[in-house]
């Protein structure tokens, strides 16, 4: 009987064969924290251990509110600076032009690698599955404990196999696929599970698109989400892998799955997730015409160069009709936008282009909504109050749909402007 990806990755880390349902304790390859490293450090100090188990395995990336927008945030950042200096944590991305949204930086900088066990004190840590890593989000206490002990327990998850064939039609992208999938299986459709993406449509995708898919694994309750570590991944990590502990692992053909689903990419249409849940799917035909007050192109889900190129192609030479906030996922992406003239395109179209970071995604920074306002966003959550105000409304969509909507001032079908 074959094994799933999760069984292989956790078995490799545990040093013995494992099957779904078993509880294993493993040593994480990398532990990622963002601005919440400060409260975690305080909890860590309460444990009473002097030093973190392996400083080289800990990564801090400031992204939730950078540069600090209040003295409270500034104090939080300062605590992280002091803690990383004291503990010798060299992988610290401070307020400079070297960082960005934590998950993007983890991938760009070669931390996300096939077969590694990666934990992060952020629920979207599952993004690194695009590189074939077993990666998952955990809470603050658990991260503090991991720093102290170098260990974390997992119940080996059952797996959901999603096979995608065919190819996207123009105006459709990975975001539409993942919103469709979550709409179908709902917010708890993959609770506790490992989601594996298989099939020719996945293989045809860029790593950026795979990151969009894996990023939203958590939105269906998954423990992790993963794509095959194929030649594209191996090429992407060449010369930048931060460790050689990695190994390209993938599920056996005869692995046993709790559930299997198949999609034809050609059947997917542009869509949105309506307020206030990610699984509140609506095809674009149903949603278009909804007036909006703000468009947001950003977040760890959809702000890579591929996403911004797609949006810029729609915005070029035109004027946005609503305030449009563009936040590249990282400074590398920002730099690439400059080189390709996209920053100019966005500025000329009337957008705000801020420094990379999480922006308004979780109600902390640039672009908070007022009561009664509606935003169309490329981010991953549209929960009530998510962007800072409980009486506002968030629609999730692809970069193409967000750009098309920004031009019209209402939710629009990107196929009509392409």
């Amino acid at each position: 009987m074959g094994k799933t990806f999760a069984e292989k990755a956790l078995g490799r880390a545990a040093g013995h064969e494992v099957r779904a349902g078993e509880i294993v304790t493993v040593e994480p390859d990398f532990c990622m924290s963002h601005d919440n490293a400060a409260p975690i450090a305080r909890t860590f100090k309460k444990i009473g251990v002097k030093n973190v188990w392996k400083p080289e395995r800990i990564v801090f990336i400031l992204d939730h509110a950078v540069p600090a927008p209040s003295d409270d945030h500034a104090i939080n950042h300062k605590e992280i600076r002091e803690f990383s200096a004291e503990q010798g944590i060299a992988n610290f991305f401070d307020v400079t032009s070297k960082g960005g949204v934590c998950h993007q930086v983890m991938c760009e900088e070669g931390f996300a690698l096939p077969g590694l066990i990666m934990i992060g004190s952020d629920s979207h840590t599952c993004t690194y599955g695009a590189y074939g890593a077993f990666s998952t989000g955990i809470g603050r206490s658990e991260m503090a404990a991991a720093w102290a002990t170098g260990q974390i327990w997992f119940k080996v998850p059952e797996s959901l196999k999603v096979t995608v064939t065919g190819s996207f039609r123009p105006g459709v992208s990975a975001k539409d696929l993942i919103l469709t999938l979550i709409g179908d299986i709902k917010a708890d459709g993959a609770d506790y599970m490992s989601v594996e993406f298989h099939g020719p449509a996945i293989e045809a995708m860029s790593i950026a698109e795979r990151m969009t898919l894996c990023n939203m694994g958590i939105e269906m309750g998954a423990k992790n989400a993963v794509c095959p570590p194929d030649a594209k991944v191996l090429e992407a990590i060449r010369d930048k892998a931060k460790t050689d502990r990695w190994e390209a692992l993938w599920a056996d053909d005869d692995a046993v799955y709790a559930k299997e689903l198949t999609y034809d990419a050609g059947d997917i249409v542009p869509c949105v997730a309506k307020p206030h849940t990610v699984d509140n799917y609506a095809a674009i035909d149903e949603a278009k015409g909804t007036p909006i007050h703000q468009a947001f192109l950003g977040s760890c889900t959809n702000a890579r160069i591929e996403d911004l190129r797609a949006a810029a192609a729609i915005l070029k030479g035109k004027q946005v009709a609503v305030r449009t906030i563009v936040i590249p996922a990282s400074w590398k992406v920002y730099r690439q936008c400059l080189a390709e003239g996209l920053i100019e395109t966005f500025l000329d179209a009337g957008c705000v282009i801020t420094n990379p970071g999480c922006g308004p995604c979780m109600g902390n920074h640039e672009g908070i909504l007022a009561p009664g306002e509606t935003c169309i966003s490329t981010a991953n959550r549209n929960f009530k109050g998510r962007m800072g105000n409980k009486e506002s409304f968030i629609y999730l969509a692809s970069p193409l749909t967000v750009a098309a909507s920004a031009l019209k001032g209402e939710i629009a079908d990107p196929r009509e402007v392409l």
Partner: protein
């Protein structure tokens, strides 16, 4: 008896002869409010008019969003919406939303400021518009609301202080340093309630950016407004933006040769050195040399005082001389004043070089001028900034700030400690 610029402006606006000390009612050419103060104005106007009031002239009202753009707190988001909704309802079209930049600069770039105009705004640095000969002044929300009824407000006709500047700046020294010196010499209340006319060869040769810098800091000496006669390239720029009418306006604005001034000061910049306002007051002035080597955690370049393209370019030149690298010991943040400035920085290839050097480049906004935007400081940190105030705790309780020129700020970023830019420029 001859008249100064401010007298001529007030007389034009009041429609009668005035003398120093008179309280007069003036016609307002433009009444503006920001995302800070703007919502207070709207709510107050609605309250006193029982929500039925109409503003006197929607074309003479403007809103700018710059204090926290885009909003990162719920309250500011709400305040911005209050303004947007009010503007729509009242037919006010001049709403410069979060994508434009610092208010006064955006108004200037849009040709909405003419020499001789009387302009109100909820920004104490509104008076930097004196750089093009406008009498603009910062006021509270009540003053703005009052102006919305009939387009008028009261002013006391101020005395005028004359400041003549001669000489040429040495390498590494600029208008900001002169200004810092003036603040140090005159003190925080050195221009108490007065208007100031800046003139002399140095001013006449100065760029618009430098004139803005100079006028912006009049606030820090408790002056009413600093005024400069537009000439040369500045005049051409202004005509291009605000129309030919500008030329007639300045003819009527020129001070009489026998105008009476309360003070007549002279500064020569030939031997001026880079200057710094040290913690925790703008008038606590020393030369940069005197504080060189001091510890710094963050450097910030931007604000309505020093966020124009020329300011950023001056900083760029220092970065270039320093090998396009800033010290990893400091966090360096650059904030352009407006979208137009940012666009120019992108086209010039500066942003790429800043990023390569490790510098954070933000969208146009007031940024670090409050503790509620990019670059707030934690207790114990020391900042260097090109903003205009270093009051204790202003950008974070228990933090301290040095105010300097963009060149000195960048030199500091390059070396990681307070540095005289001449040490890098050679």
């Amino acid at each position: 008896m001859g008249k100064t610029m401010i007298h001529k402006i007030i007389e034009r606006s009041a429609g009668r002869e005035v003398k120093v000390g008179d309280r007069v009612w003036c016609k307002i050419d433009l009444s503006t409010a920001r995302d800070f103060g703007g919502a207070n104005c709207v709510l107050q106007f609605q309250e006193v008019t029982d929500k039925k009031g109409k503003v006197w002239d929607p074309n003479k009202i403007a809103f700018t969003f710059d204090l926290q753009a885009p909003a990162h707190s719920e309250k500011v988001a709400v305040n911005q919406k209050i303004i947007r909704d009010f503007a729509r309802e009242q037919g006010i079209e001049k709403v410069f939303d979060v994508n434009w930049g610092i208010g006064q600069h955006v108004l200037l770039e849009h040709g909405l400021v003419k020499p001789g105009d009387v302009i109100l705004g909820t920004d104490s640095h509104m008076n930097l518009l004196g750089a093009v000969g406008a009498f603009a002044t910062g006021v509270g929300n009540t003053d703005i609301v009052a102006s919305w009824f009939e387009g008028t407000n009261w002013f006391r006709v101020p005395e005028t202080m004359k400041i003549t500047v001669t000489g040429r700046f040495a390498r590494g020294v600029c208008m900001r340093d002169l200004l810092t010196k003036i603040v140090g010499d005159l003190g925080a209340d050195g221009m108490f309630f007065k208007a100031v006319e800046f003139g002399g060869e140095t001013i006449e040769a100065a760029s618009l950016a430098d004139r803005i810098t100079l006028c912006s800091m009049v606030t820090e000496m408790s002056g009413k407004v600093g005024l400069i006669m537009p000439n040369g390239e500045v005049l051409d720029w202004l005509v291009e933006r605000a129309g030919e009418e500008v030329r007639d306006r300045i003819k009527a604005l020129a001070p009489d040769s026998d105008a009476v001034y309360s003070d007549d000061l002279h500064f020569d910049v030939d031997k001026l050195e880079p200057m710094a306002s040290c913690p925790d007051a703008p008038d606590n002035v020393k030369t940069v040399r005197e504080v060189a080597g001091n510890h710094v955690d963050q450097v910030h370049i931007g604000s309505c005082s020093n966020g124009r393209f020329e300011d950023i370019e001056a900083a760029y030149k220092v970065l270039e001389a320093g090998g396009f690298k800033v010290s990893p010991k400091v966090r360096t943040i650059i904030t352009p004043a407006t979208r137009e400035v940012m666009r120019k920085c992108a086209a010039a290839g500066y942003i790429e070089k800043f990023l390569d050097a490790g510098i954070v480049f933000t969208n146009p906004t007031c940024s670090l001028c409050t503790a509620e935007h990019y670059g707030a400081l934690p207790a114990g940190d020391v900042g260097v900034s090109t903003t205009n105030r270093n009051f204790i705790g202003k950008v974070g309780k228990g933090s301290h700030t040095y105010l300097m020129s963009p060149m000195s700020a960048m030199a500091t970023a390059v070396r990681g400690v307070i540095t005289d830019p001449r040490d890098i420029l050679g």
